[in-house]
Symmetry: C2
Subunit: 143 residues, 2 copies
């Protein structure tokens, strides 16, 4: 996972430094969405001298290269997710719980859009917003 990102960085002419590898390792670790602050904290476990600036610079770089993307998770501040393939989740607007799912019915649409608009599509993000089972019940009882 992080190896692949490392490889892409290197192939694009960027250097593989210890700080960058630490960030990549953190990102590859859980495959989940982290804030820059969280990346810094975990990165420092791997490479204690890691600086906040480097985290931001690396995240920006990876985002530019399309390997990372911001994701909305209800919490404050930005969150980033590995792109890998598509990323799908439902977010409860009430309690903030997120549920990930894998069904992907988008490949057809992806293909259609790519053709129609001449776009080369690399990945996608699909988020549904609503109320989870639990919060629906809460709402109902408070009405």
């Amino acid at each position: 996972m992080s190896e692949q990102m490392a490889k892409r960085l290197q192939e694009a002419g960027y250097r593989l430094t210890a700080p960058r590898l630490a960030v990549l390792q953190v990102l590859g670790m859980k495959g989940e969405d982290l804030s820059p602050a969280e990346v810094l904290k975990r990165g420092r476990v791997i490479y204690p001298d890691l600086s906040r600036a480097t985290v931001y610079r690396t995240l920006e770089l990876l985002t530019e290269m399309g390997m990372l993307r911001p994701v909305y998770l209800g919490e404050r501040g930005s969150h980033l997710a590995c792109v890998a393939e598509g990323h799908h989740h439902l977010l409860c607007l009430d309690c903030g719980r997120t549920i990930h799912f894998d069904d992907c019915v988008l490949s057809e649409l992806e293909h259609t859009l790519a053709q129609r608009l001449g776009f080369q599509i690399k990945s996608h993000l699909l988020e549904f917003y609503g109320l989870c089972e639990h919060c629906q019940r809460d709402k109902a009882s408070s009405t």
Copy 2:
């Protein structure tokens, strides 16, 4: 558009004040994605005393109520879009250009997920990431 949001606010027990109405009007205006700073600027055209704090407070309120959502547009800082129905776009990772589209093949998936997970889905966000026609050409020529 903004009338509907105003109505929902009022029904939820919030007061309709001039500052809030200004923010709603700005958001309803173009239906597009704005940063908080942009909302403030445009809001002040309508209500000159509008304060930045009120913009943030109102945006947060609307987001909590599910009428607004953050969207990634490649630029720095957060951007917000009216929820209305679904929101779909392609984002070029290279030049940042966004293309909106309307095809929505998600209602079926939405239904399936709602049933399977007991989620009450209110809206969704679908973003594709890739390279636009123009940037594909640039890449090719620089290789």
